[in-house]
């Protein structure tokens, strides 16, 4: 146990303290993995917003992409498969002075963690969730994922996938997320803009990233996406129009949109949780010493 009672409180954002950078751990992803672009974009976005690294917590689940927190110099929580979002929510509610970023993969977020994904969005918890969507299970060596396309042959589907894939953007629109975007790890600059926009947004920000697995997914490769992606902002999409956003989210084929699908303002869970009006929970006094009124109801 710490012996000193001196209190060090979380400080507000500012550039006086060290900004986020690479940690002393080198990424262990396969050479050419899409996730390198994502970690670079997250670092760029957080740095650009001048948030000191000690006020950032990156929370992940399990899978190749969920190793991301180890590669940056912020606080991190590398939890269980599929359970990053409940941990991230708990962190936000305990200290909403912190910038919380969830990271993970498609199996982690849309398979085992799908229930948490939906509920975190409907709550509009103010955090940013970046999924590295490679449409395959990588760390378990190549099984079908919830976003694998119909017919895709994998170790677990040798004759091809026979389930319709989850469309994460449509799901997010239906579930109540208030900032919904799609990036491509082949375009780090745009991705960094989308992540920065998500962090700045007051509410649940979801950024699904095409982050190709160069080892196990031979269909959805960098080239596959380079030939197909187009930017919503160049196509005249109005991100305040949820119906248009839904229509765009269903586009898949020769043309696949990336960019900001939808953005709206709705009070966050933290805005509506009255206990948090008194400031970050971790900095509020605790205990009920002397609150003998509490006992009166038992008389």
């Amino acid at each position: 146990m710490a012996e000193s009672s001196a209190r060090v409180v979380p400080t507000p954002t500012g550039s006086a303290l060290p900004l986020i950078g690479k940690s002393d751990t080198k990424p262990t992803w396969c050479p050419g993995c899409g996730d390198f672009g994502v970690v670079a974009a997250v670092e760029m976005a957080v740095k650009r917003l001048q948030i000191p690294s000690h006020n950032v917590v990156i929370v992940s689940g399990i899978g190749c992409s969920s190793n991301l927190p180890h590669f940056l110099s912020s606080y991190g929580f590398h939890g269980l498969h599929g359970r990053s979002l409940p941990v991230a929510e708990g962190i936000r509610w305990a200290n909403h002075g912190l910038t919380v970023i969830g990271t993970g993969g498609d199996g982690d977020g849309f398979g085992i963690g799908a229930g948490h994904f939906i509920h975190a969005m409907r709550r509009n918890v103010n955090l940013t969730y970046v999924t590295m969507d490679n449409q395959i299970y990588g760390l378990t060596t190549g099984q079908a994922s919830p976003t694998s396309v119909m017919g895709q042959k994998t170790k677990s589907t040798p004759t091809g996938v026979i389930e319709h894939p989850i469309e994460p953007i449509s799901l997010a629109l239906a579930s109540g997320a208030t900032y919904i975007a799609r990036g491509f790890s082949g375009d780090v600059k745009q991705l960094a803009d989308l992540v920065a926009g998500g962090i700045q947004h007051n509410g649940f920000s979801f950024i699904d990233v095409f982050s190709p697995c160069v080892t196990y997914n031979k269909i959805n490769t960098f080239d596959f996406f380079r030939q197909r992606v187009y930017k919503l902002e160049s196509a005249g999409h109005d991100p305040s129009d949820i119906v248009a956003a839904f229509a765009r989210s269903l586009e898949w084929g020769d043309k696949i949109p990336i960019g900001l699908f939808y953005k709206t303002d709705r009070p966050t869970y933290e805005d509506l949780e009255e206990v948090l009006a008194a400031g970050p929970l971790a900095l509020q006094p605790s205990g009920i010493k002397g609150r003998n009124d509490v006992l009166d109801e038992f008389v």
Partner: protein, 584 residues
């Protein structure tokens, strides 16, 4: 002790729990100790439910055995419960609904027909008001002064619409005076004792203990019989500054609690066996990341959905083994409400000091029964410290630094310069993964062992910090009951009954069921003459644990898994068998 038991019964939806609680609260406000048993079924309307309030001049530790006053809202209540009525007892019922003849009651028991519906109709067409007349008649028979009953009724309706209060006061007064005119009070009718006592359920005591311990965050998914913790803290969240979150499932609940704890607040989740089964993986997450968390596991009859509204101590094996791999944990087992308050505080202290999950093993019988406590027994005098402290080491911060105690300095997000990653994978002192490119390499194989040893060494401290077994009663008694958790209550009552028959017994119970101190237990058991293990489960799970930890096999057992709490007379009978015939 002189005692009085009042039981009310009817169908779910009849307001039985509220009738029973009103009577129980009258007793506690008169300064008497009460035990209140709320027996119900997994149904919202219909079925058969009852509430049993037991009081007297001592402290009842259980629902006891017989009853003196039965307020029956339906005939089934008479059929099911009248056999338990003691001589001099009374059945209160409304003859407009059904008839009760004294020939169907035990000898010396009176049937008292009270026109409760007629009283109710004077005020409203809502038949629920019949209960007020029944409460009034029951209160008279029990010795409760009318003005005290009226205060309790007024307080229970709070600042609601005046009419409802007026009707209840009027109808209850009519019932009271009717009984006064047509019957005499029970021979064991109560008299005012000392200062009013506090009446609370085990769940409320747990919630109160959590708040006192500095808990700032509860995440929970509703599940009987743990929901009372959620309900009490939700109702007081704003007043006490506690964030209470109903999660989408138990997996989310414990992960949220772990996240909140990681970020610097004392956190808790509560559930029953089915929900705890879902929390198992995250329990290990707390162990691996060395994040304090308190988990309340209020057991009910299993397996699977089991008997959701009935009690059992069948989850001990699961609590002991929950989680893949090994990590330190403690399991505390409070016996009653005042103990639950203190044990919850203790659970938070242990979790924080040893940075590991601590389980509070309750059960339906403790969680949902009513107990009385004195104000000083739940003194709100704790001042929880801030968790934001400066880790003691200077230049290079290592979250998982090797220490003698196994406890490493804990930084919290927001503290500058101390960033680290808490990982569910095996890691080194700085939190860096060992699992990916380093596992299997000799240096890191050794590191894994060292980190595992560090975590597990916390068990030593946990053991030293935990409450040892308690021996109650004469040290030299020829029979020792061995128990844990809520079964201690009926055993205490049984011991008093046995003592009144000149039979000396004592009780060895375990406030901490894990980790145990084998040497201390062997010594304690070595001083006993004969033991009887009492558990509410099929296989004697605690007996198995004791045998595993100490090599001592407690062969004489009284195990119950019918969903019902132990009744003192059952324990008396088994105790006498042991004493007279050397047991089975």
């Amino acid at each position: 002790m002189s005692e009085l038991s009042v039981r009310s019964g009817g169908q779910a939806g009849d307001g039985i729990a509220s009738v029973g609680e009103t009577i129980a609260r009258c007793f506690s406000r008169m300064g008497l100790h009460v035990f209140g048993l709320n027996a119900y079924q997994s149904v919202i309307r219909g079925g058969h439910v009852w509430y049993h309030a037991r009081t007297g001049d001592g402290r009842p530790h259980s629902q006891g055995d017989g009853l003196d006053i039965l307020y029956a809202l339906d005939k089934q209540t008479v059929d099911v419960h009248s056999a338990g009525l003691r001589r001099g007892g009374t059945v209160v019922f409304d003859p407009e609904k059904f008839a009760v003849s004294e020939s169907e009651l035990p000898a010396g028991v009176t049937a008292l027909p009270v026109p409760t519906l007629e009283f109710a109709r004077k005020y409203t067409s809502q038949s629920i008001l019949q209960n007020a007349g029944g409460i009034g008649a029951t209160a008279f028979l029990a010795g409760i002064p009318l003005d005290l009953l009226h205060q309790v009724l007024q307080d229970s309706f709070g600042r609601k619409a005046g009419d409802v209060v007026t009707w209840n006061l009027g109808a209850s007064a009519e019932g009271y005076h009717f009984a006064e005119t047509h019957a005499s009070a029970n021979a064991s009718a109560v008299r005012k004792g000392g200062a009013p006592k506090l009446l609370m359920t085990g769940n409320q005591a747990i919630a109160l203990g959590a708040a006192a311990a500095g808990c700032k965050f509860l995440a929970q998914y509703p599940m009987t019989p743990a929901s009372g913790v959620l309900h009490w803290l939700a109702a007081h969240a704003q007043s006490l500054g506690i964030v209470v979150k109903q999660a989408e499932d138990e997996i989310a609940a414990i992960n949220m609690a772990i996240g909140a704890s990681f970020a610097g607040v004392r956190s808790m989740t509560a559930t029953s066996g089915g929900g705890f089964a879902l929390m198992v993986e995250a329990l290990g997450l707390a162990g691996m990341t060395e994040t304090p968390v308190v988990v309340v596991e209020s057991q009910r009859c299993g397996p699977s959905t089991g008997l959701p509204t009935k009690t059992e101590q069948g989850d001990l094996n699961m609590m002991l083994g929950a989680g893949q791999g090994e990590f330190p944990r403690a399991i505390l087992a409070p016996t009653d409400a005042k103990d639950a308050y203190l044990a919850t505080i203790r659970a938070f202290e242990l979790a924080e000091a040893w940075q590991t999950p601590v389980l509070l093993a309750s059960d339906l019988h403790l969680s949902e029964s009513h107990f009385t406590v004195d104000r000083e027994e739940v003194a709100l005098n704790l001042e929880p410290s801030s968790l934001f402290t400066v880790p003691p080491n200077g230049h290079e911060y290592k979250r998982y630094q090797y220490t003698d105690s196994g406890v490493s300095p804990r930084a919290l997000p927001g503290q500058p310069g101390l960033q680290f990653v808490a990982g569910s994978d095996e890691h080194d002192e700085k939190g860096h993964l060992v699992s990916d490119t380093r596992s299997g390499i000799p240096r890191w194989v050794a590191e894994r062992v060292q980190m595992m040893d560090k975590r597990m060494s916390k068990l030593r401290g946990l053991r030293a910090d935990s409450a040892p077994p308690v021996l109650e009663g004469p040290a030299e008694a020829p029979l020792t009951f061995v128990a844990w958790g809520s079964t201690v209550g009926p055993i205490r009552d049984a011991m008093a009954q046995l003592a009144s028959q000149g039979k000396s017994t004592n009780l060895l119970y375990f406030p901490t069921v894990f980790p145990l101190d084998p040497d201390g237990i062997v010594t304690a058991l070595g001083r006993t003459h004969r033991t009887l293990l009492i558990e509410a489960n099929y296989s004697g799970q605690f007996g198995r644990l004791l045998r595993a930890e100490t090599g001592v096999h407690l062969t004489d057992r009284f195990l119950k898994y019918d969903g019902e709490p132990f009744y003192p007379h059952e324990i008396v009978a088994r105790g006498l068998e042991e004493l007279d015939h050397g047991g089975k």
